[in-house]
Subunit: 768 residues, 2 copies
């Protein structure tokens, strides 16, 4: 564990005491988001010490020029970047003309941050002794409104403690922002209008190249001791910023409060010419409703989310806090309202990975959203890829594929590939399978058989075509082979016959074939529409299956295990346990070639296949493969421990499963990887959820029914969660001795626990 | 063939007619160099059309920040760049106030460039009708003095043809230059002094970071109709440039001539504070001697070079021109006077490849310098690497190697690695073997047994240690393996057991062991000095040999050929002849992953091993491997055709050998690769020389004797060359029916022709 300053609390993330060295980490941890916008926990009043300023708008990105050493043919032109958007939170504060800046105060005490996850707000409070010896108490509360998702609300209260003082608030908007993570110090934003209208202000700006238009807006209200002071602010505009200054004299012990309503109206949702009026209409509503009622709405909205998504853990407050933090962040990042959006690996908490979409979404995040939201949300994640199908076909064409074969991008904002390491972009092709698997997984879980004939089949055909073309026949092996790939274990590059990739390829072709047959039988019109659009013949499908049925899978007879790739056994198979601690993490200590030729595995690879396709393998086979591969695994991807936790649990190794769980659930809160200042690991948080639900509780869907095989870590008294299964809400409580199951609503549900079928009657708890 | 504008001529490169689209290509082709400095054929008077300005100083480089996508551990901090140095050639010319600029003239006729290779000068002449309707004839002649290698001389003559005119010459120096090939638009030079003293001027500048100090200097003299006009120039200095203007009125048909003596004094050869006085002393000498005598010296110096290095080809003027161009450029690039210098792939003709040293030097260039210079020159190439041994050990340490193992850099200026693609830098480790092989090759050729005990053995030990550590034992194969490499065929990355690399590794260890034994026996003191310095025990040597004697070599029993790497036969083995022409060159048409998984070979790989170690393999084996690999080879490296030409000749396939020869000998003159505007392929020019001497003439050194097996392309009447073999000059003439051999001097020499021994008496031609 690398940090330990977050106070244990079941529902809140709490930091006490001001430490400048923690500012950037806390800015990540206390981030707010509402699916449409996000805000790092930067100080409203500004801070002259080290800070990482970040305001983000979902779906607004910039095609930053790709930075490479030597250009390789086929490289994408750009690396998509989530953009730091104009600053809407800023409120400069002066006390008798002295600027409030925690970096220059004589003394700071009672500093506290609280991220209230239950209610969805963030509060920071402190007492500061300014250079001019005035002591003030500050309490600042803010939230991003979950329903009115263009709106952020701030309540900023200042109380002079040792004398009366003139308090000035200068709420402002600033379009002159830069990106922390830019390649070329390019300017990303053009500001076309800076407007001030009494208490309101607006900045109209647009992103260069991508031409997203954004109206950043604000309106402020000054209160003193609860009374609204109708003040016309002193206004200052520049070509990129606008400031309103409100000034009042406050007696010792009295409080001046600034309410600031602000946010973004974006051309994704409005025509550019109506952005300002959209902003005004949000402001009108916000000022009419008022901060307190808006906050009440926020609490109610989050209460609804928790009603479905909460996991309780009794007997371990840190574990409780950890899992809730994960669930909270996932919900801050993506709410499934908009099929144009997706889940960036850092969500709205930082800029790394460009805020783009990775295979993380399909492989790790989908189960969480399926189980804790309604089907529409999960379906929107599938539709996101369906809408990108054409671009995925274009992407494959750039790499020489033909006939409608699709290669989905490794990293994308709009469907185009926007990553530029050949060993990833060109070779980590297994991501294509995750997209097909998500269709399977969604259908299996929801029972919604309409998605495949409506949309999914087109994706499955294009993906099957890719695998068919990507394999080649090896005369030497008398088998089809897939050469030159990178598997999920990115500590291997350009390998041949990665078992996981090959297995996925075979499965994709077979699943596409099966779905084709099903759609032909049950949705004839869709079948005709799709096969005609795709120009697909039965001969072609039979050609695909020649590859699928005769694909090479590296296997060791001697060890009885599938090999991660051809030649894997030529490596020095020294377990991680024998590796000197000083050499770890190897991705920081070893040169890349040394990592590549070592046997060390970054994250589940063969075992990822055993996770996706677990019913294809016996438990004995799982055990053999787990015992062969896990000891060689360094888990240097945040996506690694969850899959291993699930599989250790399946093997009944609860202690090991719990160990893996711990590595994932408080990864960011305890900053295991010493990088939380860059942002939180959002997508791996879904893996944490899976560790409990699929790992400890053993939840699976088989034959349209929920199965459980509940276990519980020794340290916990009880844990519980809810599952939205095909419209029925199932509550599961797992204790050390008994487990309870219950369904809400009107329908009964048949489930299976530890291999035994069980009927749950509505609203009746069954204990076993 | 992609261009055809160079006039065939045995001794000169000639271009006639002015074509703006050819300017950049001709700037490369007509480049001048003298081993210490180089100059692209830029126009003295300037040119406002597309041009690539380049003045280079040998050994003066800049550590440009490495540009990469995602940083990988162990990457070098910088990519060394040869620097565009301050402009010394510039002479602005105005005619009645109108600027002479070939891009703005109303008409240009009789434009001609000539690079006289025999005498080492470059002349450009033309008649131009200026916008002000004055017609002038210009003849500009320049050369870089071969012996006084800090000096360049220009004779710039202007003759008004249709009226008298006021002609102004403004010779200048300009330190405000940029690099064509820079990553970050950084400034590379700081100018500290700009001085003008009567007819002389000086700019003192230094490179940032590397702190090379350079005094760029000039002195001009104005002549009219052969009479020196003692004029004090009008002077203008800025913070980075200095201009002197000389003006005279010239009658129609009379000629005004400016002589400009200029160049660089560099802190590699002088202390920074004495640069200016060094420059003054060069100027004093130059003006004392005068242009005509200096040019005479130049002719004599080149005559000496040609005396040894010339190859004549009778019956094919284009082939004659091609081979002389290659020999000329090699001598312009490197003369072996200074062991700190080396041979950049583009010499002084461009900036690509950063002017750095690659394995090209040892693998392709050494034989040329051994045979056409004295031993000292070749030895300096070895000493270059000896001097970098410590840095090579540091480089290996960065990659996790220990105990004095050395990995020489793939690309370097000063011994540090300065390339940044992991698949090259970290994996293309066979370069280490080329450095050991050069020691072997030098010793074999020169008979100089002193280099190994004096210096070479230390290098051999460090290289053997590297190979020993780089291999690992594969339990599965019960053999040592070398995983994760890139062979000479860079169209494969991160492969296992590249046959060439493994064979080289084995040979390096065995050769180091043999040399250790020899030095122990014959140079005991050196043995003790070196083994003690290296802390080398006999046990360690025996450990090396365990690897060497049990290394895995991929082999196909069925085909009877060694495989380029493990798994090579899994590829689709479709010969290049079946590849659609529209798909070629594949490095421009195919994405990188497609190239990697194809069987297509960029340059000799297994066959490179057969070239280096030809006595280890039968001719039958060579034939088998040639027939297997050559049809899969796309020869997209300029270093590929020469090795294939040599081997085709060895197999008696002269037509094929000649075809390969044609691809290499006029690669730049005819611009096969459509890239000569970036500079010429200097290092591959040495391969062209090898194609004739080792290929057609079959020259080898065996048992301390020269062997020949002469053949001649059908199209040629005769070709001849000279060889400096251990101090004896051998002339070889090969005709369609007879061949002549002759030695100069006083010693007789035993050679071997077509397997038969033959004694050559001094100065007596033997015809067979």
């Amino acid at each position: 564990m690398n940090q330990d300053y977050i106070q244990p609390d079941a529902w809140s993330i709490i930091e006490e005491g001001f430490e400048p060295g923690r500012v950037k980490s806390s800015e990540s941890l206390f981030s707010l988001g509402n699916g449409a916008m996000g805000q790092r926990a930067n100080f409203e009043e500004g801070y002259s010490g080290p800070t990482f300023q970040g305001s983000y708008i979902a779906g607004v990105y910039y095609p930053d020029k790709t930075r490479v050493g030597w250009w390789k043919n086929g490289y994408p032109e750009y690396f998509a970047k989530v953009l730091n958007a104009p600053n809407w939170i800023g409120i400069k504060v002066t006390i008798n003309g002295e600027i409030l800046d925690l970096n220059t105060c004589k003394e700071i005490r009672d500093f506290k941050r609280e991220l209230n996850m239950k209610e969805g707000w963030y509060q920071r409070s402190f007492v500061a002794l300014l250079p001019n010896d005035i002591e003030v108490e500050v309490v600042s509360t803010r939230f991003l409104h979950l329903d009115k998702d263009e709106l952020g609300c701030i309540n900023y209260a200042v109380t002079p403690l040792n004398q009366s003082a003139e308090v000035s608030f200068t709420p402002y908007l600033d379009g002159g922002i830069t990106n922390e993570d830019s390649n070329w110090d390019d300017k990303f934003w053009d500001v076309s209008e800076v407007a001030s209208e009494e208490n309101q202000a607006f900045i109209h700006s647009r992103t260069m190249k991508t031409d997203f238009h954004v109206c950043t807006y604000m309106e402020a209200q000054l209160f003193q001791n609860g009374r609204h002071l109708q003040q016309t602010p002193e206004t200052k505009t520049t070509d990129r910023a606008v400031r309103h200054t409100y000034t009042t004299t406050v007696e010792e012990g009295e409080t001046a409060t600034l309410f600031k309503y602000a946010g973004y109206a974006v051309s994704l949702n409005h025509t550019p010419s109506t952005l300002k009026s959209a902003a005004k209409s949000v402001l009108r509503e916000a000022t009419d409703i008022g901060f307190d009622t808006l906050l009440q709405q926020q609490k109610e909205a989050w209460s609804k989310i928790w009603e479905m998504a909460d996991i309780t853990i009794d007997g371990d407050v840190k574990a409780q806090q950890g899992i809730r933090f994960n669930i909270f962040q996932l919900n801050q990042t993506y709410l499934g309202k908009d099929a144009r959006l997706n889940i960036g690996p850092k969500g709205f908490t930082g800029e790394k990975y460009g805020g783009s979409t990775y295979w993380d979404t399909e492989a790790y995040c989908l189960p969480f959203y399926m189980a804790t939201k309604n089907d529409e949300v999960a379906r929107n994640l599938l539709v996101y890829r369906y809408n990108h199908l054409e671009k995925a076909i274009e992407n494959a064409e750039k790499l020489g594929f033909t006939n409608g074969a699709a290669l989905y991008p490794m990293v994308t904002m709009n469907g185009e590939e926007s990553h530029n390491e050949w060993e990833i972009t060109f070779e980590e092709i297994h991501r294509n399978a995750a997209i097909a698997f998500a269709i399977y997984n969604y259908t299996r879980y929801t029972g919604d058989t309409s998605y495949v004939p409506e949309k999914g089949l087109e994706v499955l055909i294009a993906i099957a075509r890719f695998w068919h073309q990507r394999a080649n026949f090896s005369t030497a092996k008398n088998k089809y082979v897939i050469l030159g790939v990178t598997g999920p274990n990115e500590y291997e590059n350009n390998i041949n016959n990665n078992w996981y990739t090959n297995y996925c390829a075979k499965w994709c072709i077979e699943y596409a074939t099966e779905m084709l047959e099903g759609v032909e039988q049950h949705h004839t019109k869709d079948y005709e529409r799709i096969t005609s659009k795709a120009n697909l013949s039965k001969t072609e499908v039979s050609d695909w299956n020649k590859v699928a049925s005769n694909l090479h899978f590296p296997y060791s007879e001697e060890l009885g295990v599938y090999l991660q790739q051809d030649g894997f056994l030529d490596k020095e198979l020294v377990p991680v346990s024998q590796l000197d601690e000083a050499q770890r993490p190897i991705n920081q200590k070893w040169s890349w070639d040394r990592i590549l030729r070592s046997a060390y595995i970054k994250q589940a690879d063969v075992l990822q296949g055993f996770y996706f396709f677990e019913d294809h393998f016996s438990e004995e086979a799982l055990q053999k493969h787990f015992d062969f591969y896990e000891p060689l695994t360094v888990h240097e991807s945040s996506l690694s421990p969850c899959v291993h936790s699930i599989q250790a649990a399946k093997l009944g190794r609860m202690e090991q499963a719990y160990e893996f769980y711990l590595r994932t659930s408080r990864l960011d809160l305890d900053d295991y990887n010493k990088e939380v200042d860059e942002g939180c690991h959002i997508t791996s948080m879904a893996g944490t959820w899976m560790s409990i639900v699929e790992g400890f509780a053993g939840m699976r869907v088989r034959d349209g029914k929920l199965h459980f095989s509940p276990q519980i870590p020794k340290k916990w008294k009880e844990y519980s969660f809810k599952i939205n299964f095909r419209g029925t809400i199932v509550t599961v409580k797992v204790g050390q001795e008994h487990h309870c199951f219950c369904v809400k609503g009107k329908k009964e549900l048949e489930i299976n626990v530890n291999g035994e079928a069980m009927k749950l009657s509505p609203n009746t708890e069954v204990t076993i």
